[in-house]
């Protein structure tokens, strides 16, 4: 049995930042199903928010209010306050580690405008900010390669728990197929989001709900799963990300008639309204037949920015347009559509990144979560752009600190290695033994279509009920598939099948939460209940139970400074 004081699952921004914290005192391992530098944090482009005030005066109070208003008042305000207060410090610390930032003329970290932020507070590195931070943190891990053990290309399958205490994880080595138990005093999940459930998404193939579902199977509820963010600028058909920075730098959104349609939806913020509003506006234009040439895309127009500014601030965007659609944004507008981007919901934690098991805040001892897989909730119903990199680093650090404090005084608990291993081996064996005729590829495609059409930007009761039925029947068909690769060596097929199961279950949890929330708030929009309903739904959803019987519970939103008001831009 492998043993570490603390084991972290996921090596994106949250996981690596946590590891740096833990390694100050204890033995820590980071496990990733890819390599750290391949983590999806690296795909974040536009920036990381902090009220540094480098180009205009700014304050944490304004950052806090913008975040809460952006989140449609579902955010837990005590957590938001700590989070925005920690922001400047975490940015300076990244800079001290060596992170490469774009600079102002006087050498400070440059900051630009972003959707929903009232001040230019997005610190950035051209249009590859996530990449810059990911590599800066990876550099720190390489510096500490003696003290931080990295398991590259390992998958995590389940949590080892006993009562309210987490004692480790069951994992497997992709290269050899060997299943192992890692015993740990504390476990931190930094496993990212689950955008791959949707047909059009910015997310990497690796973003498949593994962590969230492992937590759910260990008895942890899932919080606010219905809140999925659709990003307004995904490349047409592919969904890959064109940063909001393109609009932050002054880009226009144009419908098929060439109109800047945001005038009708958010006149004061125009293209820089929060993402849920811009995505709904785009979809409304498309649904009304005002897409470009009547098709299901609209235009992101950067031509007026000029080549020099595009090359200085948005070089990667330009290259992506050329490589993926043969459109050079210096000369032509880019075809875009809304694309599933970010999960506001996830594993419920308190503001110390401690995972909680119910509305009363009962702790799962020794289990922490941070980043997109967690729901603190600092983003409420809709996350503002540049707040996710901040979430990952602030709460990654916090999770590391909390796990360190916990593990410092905890002992290794007894783990029944054989029993834990057997459970996972059995799930492998079960898939290997299946001899059905269903195609996993068809099931995956159908799931993605169903979720996009019936649980996407515009939802209603009829669609959601049909969605749940569809997903359940896909789940039944899933059990009648057949695997072709039966080897142990680097068997990516079996891992894709396990990921598909996680996604199917997560899809059902999302749709079930969405069906029950009979209001429209942030990223969750019900055509049949198109207003926010604070009287009945100013509360967080908690999905408990098992896939056979999902049970919905709720917990109140923490409101400290800002009473909910109408949200207009």
């Amino acid at each position: 049995m492998i043993k570490h004081d603390v084991v972290i699952i996921g090596a994106g921004l949250a996981g690596m930042r946590a590891a740096i914290e833990v390694s100050k005192e204890l033995d820590v391992a980071v496990l990733t199903k890819v390599y750290p530098s391949r983590s999806h944090s690296g795909a974040a482009q536009g920036g990381i928010a902090a009220s540094l005030g480098n180009s205009e005066s700014d304050s944490w109070e304004e950052h806090m209010y913008d975040t809460i208003k952006g989140g449609d008042f579902l955010n837990d305000q005590d957590a938001v306050e700590e989070y925005v207060k920690a922001a400047p410090g975490i940015i300076y610390e990244l800079e001290h580690m060596g992170c490469v930032f774009s600079r102002t003329a006087d050498g400070k970290i440059a900051q630009r405008s972003f959707g929903g932020h009232s001040k230019p507070r997005a610190c950035f590195s051209a249009d590859r900010t996530g990449h810059a931070i990911l590599h800066a943190l990876h550099e720190q891990l390489m510096k500490q390669s003696e003290t931080i053990k990295i398991y590259n290309e390992w998958n995590m399958h389940s949590l080892v728990t006993e009562g309210n205490r987490c004692n480790g994880v069951v994992v497997s080595n992709v290269k050899t197929g060997a299943v192992e138990v890692i015993q740990a005093k504390a476990v931190i999940f930094c496993t990212g989001g689950y955008g791959r459930i949707f047909k059009i998404t910015t997310n990497a193939f690796a973003s498949t709900a593994d962590g969230v579902m492992a937590a759910f199977r260990a008895g942890i509820p899932i919080e606010d799963a219905e809140f999925v963010q659709f990003h307004p600028s995904g490349l047409y058909r592919q969904g890959i990300l064109f940063s909001e920075a393109a609009r932050g730098e002054g880009g226009y959104l144009l419908n098929g008639k060439g109109d800047r349609f945001m005038e009708q939806y958010a006149p004061s913020r125009m293209e820089l309204a929060p993402r849920d509003i811009v995505s709904r506006a785009e979809q409304s234009e498309i649904d009304a037949g005002r897409g470009v040439n009547g098709k299901d895309f609209i235009h992101l127009d950067l031509r007026h920015l000029g080549e020099a500014r595009i090359m200085e601030r948005l070089p990667q965007i330009r290259q992506l347009g050329i490589d993926f659609t043969s459109v050079d944004c210096v000369k032509d507008p880019l075809p875009i559509q809304p694309t599933a981007h970010y999960s506001m919901g996830g594993i419920p934690t308190d503001k110390f990144s401690q995972v909680v098991m119910d509305a009363q805040g009962t702790k799962m001892e020794g289990f922490f979560a941070a980043g997109e897989c967690a729901c603190v909730s600092v983003h409420g119903g809709n996350r503002l752009g540049t707040n996710s990199l901040l979430d990952a680093t602030v709460f990654g650090r916090r999770a590391g600190l909390s796990a360190l404090e916990y593990a410092r005084s905890a002992d290794f608990a007894k783990v029944n290695e054989a029993q834990e291993k057997t459970k996972v081996l059995k799930s492998f064996e079960d898939i290997f033994q299946r001899d059905g005729s269903e195609s996993y590829n068809d099931i995956r495609n159908e799931m993605k279509d169903v979720m996009m059409e019936k649980c996407g930007i515009f939802r209603d009761e009829e669609k959601l009920k049909a969605c749940i039925e569809n997903i359940k029947s896909l789940h039944l068909r899933f059990k009648k598939g057949k695997v072709t690769d039966k080897g142990k060596l680097f068997n990516t097929e079996i891992y894709e099948i396990l990921e598909l199961e996680n996604m199917l279950e997560m899809a059902q949890i999302i749709a079930t939460s969405a069906l029950a929330r009979k209001e429209s708030r942030g990223g969750h929009f019900r055509s049949d209940y198109d207003k926010r309903d604070d009287k009945n739904f100013l509360k967080h959803t908690l999905v408990h139970g098992s896939m056979e019987e999902l049970e919905l519970k709720y917990k109140p939103v923490v409101i400290t400074k800002h009473k909910p008001t109408e949200r207009t831009y």
Partner: protein, 313 residues
Amino acid sequence: MATFRIKRYNPEIKPEPYYEDFQLEIPEGATLLDCINQIKWTLDGTLTYRMSCRSAICGSCGMKANGHAQLACQKQATSLLDKNDTITVEPLGNMEPVKDLVVDFEPFWDKVNKIKPYLQTDDSPPKKERTQSPDQFHLIDDASTCIMCGNCYSDCNVLEVDDKFLGPAALAKAQRFVGDSRDERTLERVTELSEPGGIWDCTHCGECVERCPKPAQPFYRIKEVMAVALEQGVHNNNGARHALSFVKSVKSSGRLNENMIPVESMGYFNIKGLMELIPIGLRMLLKRKIPPIIHKSIEDVKDVKRIFKELGQ
């Protein structure tokens, strides 16, 4: 219908690699990765490769298409078709194959680790950010775009014959710190990078620039490290002496003095190195490959000197 000729390898089943053809109609706008996925998901689930972001930022899906390393997600499949409507897909080079298109990246990362890939400073940092001018940022901007995909490493001609070479990616990463105004180990870094296996073992073929999917373009970064090494006075190695001898010769005569360059590269006091040159010299003499003993200047050498003067050299 296009043919994807894919190099297959699965040592669990068969010790030798082989090629297998798959027929696929390339969907409109499909990248090479889209096609490979289609093959895995509809034709052969055992096909094995790495992939993740599919937007050319994670660096997972490096593979050879028609003999050259590419990011599969970045290339439109139709652009890779040869005249027989075929795309030949193979694993990256200079790394051991594991299964199909998956190769062992550990040696690659070991080399990245060797260049001390992290900022090194002496003083404790200020309360806020360290300042860095936009111009100073631009010195490391290109190198910092590297996504560690290994494409340059795969197609590096030096690595093919010398696996001690650190390789283009690690050296480009080194430039990201050598050029960083915040780093305080510049001299130490360029001294280490001037050792065998380092910058001077690059043969300037430029293949890595061709293969790099990002603006990192390792060879240009290696040249920048070379320039800093020379500026910092790290001359006591064959590479630096070779470069300096080159310059000296062109400056004085307008052409290379091919008899002197090997001697000056070795160093006048490097007796062992000079002795090693003797058999090569003798063989060249016998084959009549020795350049003229008396080295003549070109006619317009004055103009060459003027150029050097203009450049302040």
